[in-house]
Amino acid sequence: MISARNVRKSFGTHLVLKGIDLDVVKGEVLAIIGPSGSGKSTLLRCMNFLEEYDGGEIWFGDELVGYRKTASGRLVKDSEARVAAIRTRMGMVFQSFNLFPHMTVLENVVEGPRVVQRRKRDEVVAEAKQLLERVGLSAKEDAYPGTLSGGQQQRAAIARALAMRPDVMLFDEPTSALDPELVGEVLDVMKALAADGMTMVVVTHEMSFAREVGDRVMMMDEGNQVEIAEPATIFTNPSHPRTVEFLQRVLR
């Protein structure tokens, strides 16, 4: 569903992605782990072109993300409209929630389907209410994000992303900004989503989540993909010394 081919990215002279190859299969949950600064968030943000990669290719289904090929085979930046169209099919959830503070929870969820997809109001509102019920926020429909806890805001953000009916969900450290006692409620929503068969790419520091819910786990370090394997292999029998070292530090 998402394929990365030798993806490279630098900020100035600093190389943050040094050639990533990756295939995310429909219905799978891929967890990306690694120390901070390893490039995992950047890789995730390249997948929906919030960050522009400068080498290699990322494919979403049979579409190249962010670029198009000219007749001579060169890559040129794609039009804003086409990039936006691809993004509507990928939901994204951020570390800092990024709900729209001037809109109620329900308005946040309705905004994308109404404004971007131009779907009918009645239909969109009904679906948004169902989604809010699914993430346990029916009582908070008319609340403004500023009045919600972090866990509630993140669940609302998940509902907002799902309202676009995406084919894949990208999670960028969704629980890192949360108080410890609020992490569980967000992970529960994500687990339910995974159980429903949603394709998910999750950048996370929650090793238990990666282990329990991940179909595969990818370990990144310094812009490299260190290894990618089933959680059982990564967590009990990692093949790379960097993985061993990292897991020792975080699982202590």
Binding site: L50, A81, R87, F94, N98, F100, H102, V115, V116, A161
Partner: protein, 221 residues
């Protein structure tokens, strides 16, 4: 100190103040309209990544911010006709001059307001498939506008007071009317006092209204 105040004189000539206030209000109105219509695009242009778009906007803004408004008005009223043959009435000149002046300041208010909205909001808007203009209209501007109101009101109050520069071009706004009156009545202290009150009456309601608006927005969130 045995000065005797004679406010009766001012009362006898009250219509002069009303007339002046109308002209002041009229100049301010058009200056604000021109300032907003030019200021928003200028502020957005100045944020552009393309130098060709950014540079002219920056040039305009800094030119008008770094020169005295009086000189700008004199220049538009006296020099523009010499260069272009376009002679405007003094009221129109002042309105346009202050409009351009206001545009430079409004542009900076717009720019600062838009810049104050964090990258996360842009990310979230883009992630649900919004284009730049959709994200700007639906997500960024509605939030930025709320932050723009206090500096905008400041600028608005300055602008009303700047209309007094019109007296230098013999526009019959409040100050000019007041000066004429002083020449007839020789009561400068009374007349200037009432002039100050007249400006306060024009400006304060707007300050009051904006504070109420801010309070309402704060309660809404």
């Amino acid at each position: 100190m045995d000065y005797t105040w004679h406010f009766q004189v001012v009362w006898d000539y009250r219509m002069v103040f009303v007339r002046g206030a109308l002209v002041t209000a009229q100049i301010t109105f058009w200056a604000v309209v021109i300032g907003l219509l030019l200021g928003l695009p200028l502020g957005l242009m100045r944020r552009s990544e393309m130098r060709l778009v950014r540079a002219p906007a920056a040039g305009f803004i800094e030119l008008f911010r770094s020169t005295p408004a009086l000189v700008q008005l004199v220049w538009i009223y006296y020099s523009l006709p010499i260069l272009t043959g376009l002679q405007m009435s003094s009221v129109v000149s002042v309105s346009i001059g202050l409009g351009l002046h206001a545009a430079a300041y409004f542009a900076e208010i717009f720019r600062a307001g838009v810049n104050s909205i964090g990258r996360g909001q842009w990310d979230a808007a883009r992630a649900i498939g919004m284009t730049y203009s959709q994200a700007m209209r639906r997500i960024v501007l509605p939030q930025a506008v709320r932050r723009m109101v206090p500096p905008f009101i400041n600028e608005f109050a300055s602008l009303i007071k700047l209309t007094t520069l019109g007296s230098a071009l013999a526009v019959d706004e409040l100050l000019h009317e007041a000066n004429n009156l002083i020449n007839n009545t020789y009561r400068p202290l009374e007349i200037y006092t009432v002039l100050a009150v007249a400006f306060a009456v024009l400006i304060y309601p707007i300050i009051f209204f904006s504070q109420r608006l801010e309070q309402r927005w704060q309660r809404g969130q």
